[in-house]
């Protein structure tokens, strides 16, 4: 019963009520403002342009201060990004400003890879924010947000149109960051040339589908000024931090023999417009766009890559948590399976090597046996020979004895036959030497 009541209330339409008096929640915006001011703001600018085109000077002029920046050389092998963070304060509002310069852009002979370091840097900032967001213990309000809010693309005023490298780079960056193109060193283009150049640049950007940042025109307070500024894009700027005396004032200007270009003079260049748009009117919108559009796009792509989906196959919405758990289980199962496989492999290998070793052992044994047998046989034959030899020796000894007795008999009748004695003696002397030789060999 109670449940159905609750359902009925939830489905009712919202009603507008009139207030009977002043409640006071109209101070909510003020509370928000004071909280933000206490927290401080954070703004990140990326300056992309050729070496020496005036990026550092323009930053110095915009923020009316001198950021220390060493002159870059033309001979870098690839584009590098140098971020620097500064803390600025203006009438109790704190701004943490990060300026990222591209060093070596447009200097290489082969510029096909020039846009890659820039893209990687922007993605890296998004990645670290995403990581922080997905942490279990996170502190987003304390987190130093380094995502690039605005990219100022400096176009060299070559009189005709965009350069090919400019077009290629802007096309790659337009879906990742808010781009505002500016024409640098605008004191080299006369008024008529400038109008032509602006039209040409915008038409080229439009025809190639490059989406640059448009100042927002929904909010009535700023709609008018923003829409008029949109027609002046790209801004032609001149930067200078030197003070020159013009009339009886000291203004920021560049002094030439034929006159002086005043930075803050709207007839001379669009610097004031740029400052107005960038810092005074649309800074918050830029941050919002970065978070709501570019960062969300990046996050969506990244998560889809990792395999997360918003709706399942039976169009039931998955929560991130469930998907995460499911993925984790899958992963663990996979790990286990792999472990098993490896163990199996290991066991198999061990078995194999064991079998091999056993085989070798057997072989060795066999050989040993064989050799032993051979040894035995040889021994036997040797024994036999020895015996034969001994027999011969005995036989010989017997014959010797017989011969001696015969000699004794012969001696008795030896005076009649002296020649025979000599012959016998010779025979007798040669025989014993032969006997000793054989006996010597036998012992060995």
């Amino acid at each position: 019963m109670a449940a159905s009541e609750v359902d009925v209330f939830a489905n009712e339409e919202k009603r507008n009520l009139e207030l009977g008096g002043h409640v006071g929640f109209d101070s909510l915006p003020d509370q928000l403002v004071s909280k933000s001011v206490a927290q401080g703001f954070c703004f990140n600018i990326l300056c992309v342009g050729e070496t020496g085109i005036g990026k550092s000077t323009l930053m110095n002029t915009l923020f009316n201060t001198t950021f220390e920046n060493e002159e870059a050389s033309h001979y870098e092998h690839e584009v590098q990004l140098r971020p620097q963070t500064y803390d600025l304060q203006e009438s109790n509002v704190n701004l943490k400003l990060t300026i990222v310069h591209t060093v070596g852009f447009g200097d290489q002979i082969n510029k096909e890879e020039s846009y890659k370091p820039i893209l990687e840097y922007i993605d890296a900032q998004f990645e670290s924010y995403l990581e922080e967001e997905l942490k279990i213990k996170r502190s987003l309000f304390n987190y130093h947000d380094t995502r690039i809010h605005i990219c100022l693309y400096f176009i060299a005023p070559n009189g005709h149109s965009l350069k090919s490298i400019d077009l290629v780079t802007m096309k790659k960056l337009d879906s990742k960051v808010n781009i505002i193109p500016v024409i640098a060193k605008a004191d080299t283009v006369s008024k008529s040339e400038l109008d032509k150049l602006k039209i040409k640049v915008m038409s080229e950007l439009v025809s190639n589908g490059v989406q640059i940042y448009q100042f927002p025109t929904e909010n009535e307070a700023v709609a008018e000024i923003n829409s008029s500024m949109n027609t002046h894009l790209p801004f032609a700027v001149v930067g200078s931090i030197e003070d020159v005396k013009v009339g009886n004032k000291m203004v920021k200007a560049r002094l030439y023999p034929w006159g002086s270009v005043q930075v803050e003079n709207e007839n001379h260049c669009d610097f004031v417009k740029l400052r107005e748009m960038l810092l005074r009117v649309n800074m918050e919108d830029l941050r919002e766009q970065t978070h709501a559009r570019h960062y969300e796009l990046y996050r969506r792509c990244k998560l889809e890559e990792m395999g997360f989906k918003d709706t399942g196959p039976d169009s039931q919405s998955f929560s991130l948590q469930e998907t995460y758990e499911a993925k984790r289980k899958e992963f663990l199962v996979e790990l286990q399976r792999k472990e098993e496989e490896m163990r199996q492999m290991f066991v198999n290998k061990v078995k194999e090597t064991e079998a091999e070793l056993k085989k070798k052992e057997k072989e060795l044994h066999e050989r040993f046996e064989q050799l032993k047998r051979m040894h035995q046989e040889e021994k036997k034959t040797l024994e036999e020979k020895r015996r034969e030899l001994e027999e011969e020796m005995n036989a010989f000894n017997r014959r010797r004895v017989a011969a001696e007795t015969l000699m004794g008999q012969a001696l008795q009748g030896c005076s009649q036959q002296p020649f025979k004695k000599d012959k016998d003696k010779k025979n007798f002397f040669s025989l014993p030497s032969a006997c000793s030789l054989t006996s010597g060999r036998n012992l060995n």
């Binding site: 149109s161 025809s207 030439y256 005043q262």
Partner: protein
């Protein structure tokens, strides 16, 4: 006696022989013949090359030019275009040829983008060489490039890698004159710094640009001063314009800005006047001389050398000329042979060791 008296009696009117009129004769002949000059301009698009040429020669050379869009230029190759005009001034005719290099440095990948340029220059040299060695040498057309104006953008801090590579590739083929383009974006101090930087880097990388010849010691002081100034202000920082504006009550050629008017011919605004003086009024002939005496002769010598070496390679048996010893290849092949020898001996040693081990094992088992 009679001879000497004869000579003595004839009192000469003056010591004047009359060959001092030779220069006048040369002048007359050359006026009749006319001059020709080929100028090449090189540099990225949009640096003001065409405007400067128009300002230099006070004509409009590029009437209908097709400028490419950025996306078309992403993978553009360098072309060579030629415009020839005949201009006349006080009876002196000049056949001026401007060689343009559209597309140079415009593509995203500019490796070897100077190759079409060097090929073109070599082609002109080759053609002249062939004409010179031909039978009918009466009307040789001299299309050799006499001077190359190289435009350096003023937006950087000095020379860029592509600039260095281009000038190094061309320094032995043509007189290279580097210029700082669009100089109206630099204050005088910045111009001075940039010129010093460029001179330093040109020295550092050993790039041979066109050097002004020293003037003779018997020239007057003013000329020498001028010459010194000229030499100290290279590379020239130029601005070009074809539109006439009103400045200080006069009609001058210049560029109109909201903050002032840049006069092209004002020496305190830019070095255009110096460039014009150097290029046209004083050193045109010197440029032609150096091209034919120096660059062309180098090319010719190289050509002849390669031809004879090729001939020797073809008719090796018959030719009595000894073949030059090839030093570098032999050293390399020797090294290779030594390496291989070492490898083989190593392998053999290993083999022996293995055999020994096997033998020992067998012996152990036998026991």
């Amino acid at each position: 006696m009679t001879t000497s008296s004869r000579y003595k009696s004839r009192t000469p009117r003056s010591d004047y022989v009359g060959f001092a009129t030779l220069p006048n004769q040369v002048h007359r002949k050359s006026v009749k013949k006319g001059f020709d000059f080929t100028l090449m301009v090189a540099g990225e698009s949009g640096l003001g090359k065409s405007t400067l040429v128009n300002s230099l020669f006070l004509t409009d050379l590029h009437k209908d030019r097709k400028l490419l869009n950025a996306e078309e230029r992403i993978s553009q190759t360098v072309e060579i275009t030629k415009h020839t005009v005949d201009i006349e001034e006080k009876g002196v005719k000049l056949k001026l040829t401007i060689v343009d290099t559209p597309g140079f440095g415009d593509a995203v990948n500019n490796t070897e983008c100077w190759r079409p340029v060097t090929d073109y220059i070599n082609l002109q040299f080759e053609q002249y060489f062939r004409d010179e060695s031909g039978l009918n040498r009466k009307n040789i057309q001299d299309n050799r490039v006499h001077c190359c104006l190289y435009f350096i953008p003023p937006f950087g801090h000095g020379l860029r890698p592509v600039d260095i590579e281009f000038m190094k590739a061309l320094q032995d083929k043509v007189n290279v004159v580097p210029l700082i383009a669009k100089a109206d974006c630099l204050t005088p101090l910045e111009i001075k710094k940039l010129k010093e930087r460029l001179r330093e880097e040109i020295d550092k990388y050993g790039i041979k640009i066109y050097q002004f010849p020293d003037c003779d010691s018997d020239e007057d002081e003013e000329f020498k001063q001028q010459d010194r100034e000229l030499k100290e202000s290279t590379p020239f920082a130029v601005i070009g314009s074809n539109t006439v504006v009103e400045a200080r009550g006069q009609r001058v050629r210049g560029r109109l800005y909201p903050w002032g008017i840049v006069e092209v011919e004002n020496p305190s605004h830019c070095d255009f006047v110096k460039l014009r003086t150097m290029l046209i009024r004083t050193h045109m002939h010197d440029l032609k001389d150096i091209t034919s005496d120096c660059h062309y002769e180098n090319f010719r010598a190289l050509c002849i050398q390669t031809m004879t070496s090729k001939m020797n390679a073809d008719k090796r048996v018959e030719s009595p000329i000894p073949i030059l010893p090839l030093s570098t290849p032999d050293v390399e092949t020797e090294k290779l042979i030594k390496m291989k020898d070492d490898e083989v001996s190593g392998c053999l040693k290993l083999n022996n060791a293995l055999q020994q081990v096997l033998h020992n094992q067998d012996a152990d088992v036998n026991r």
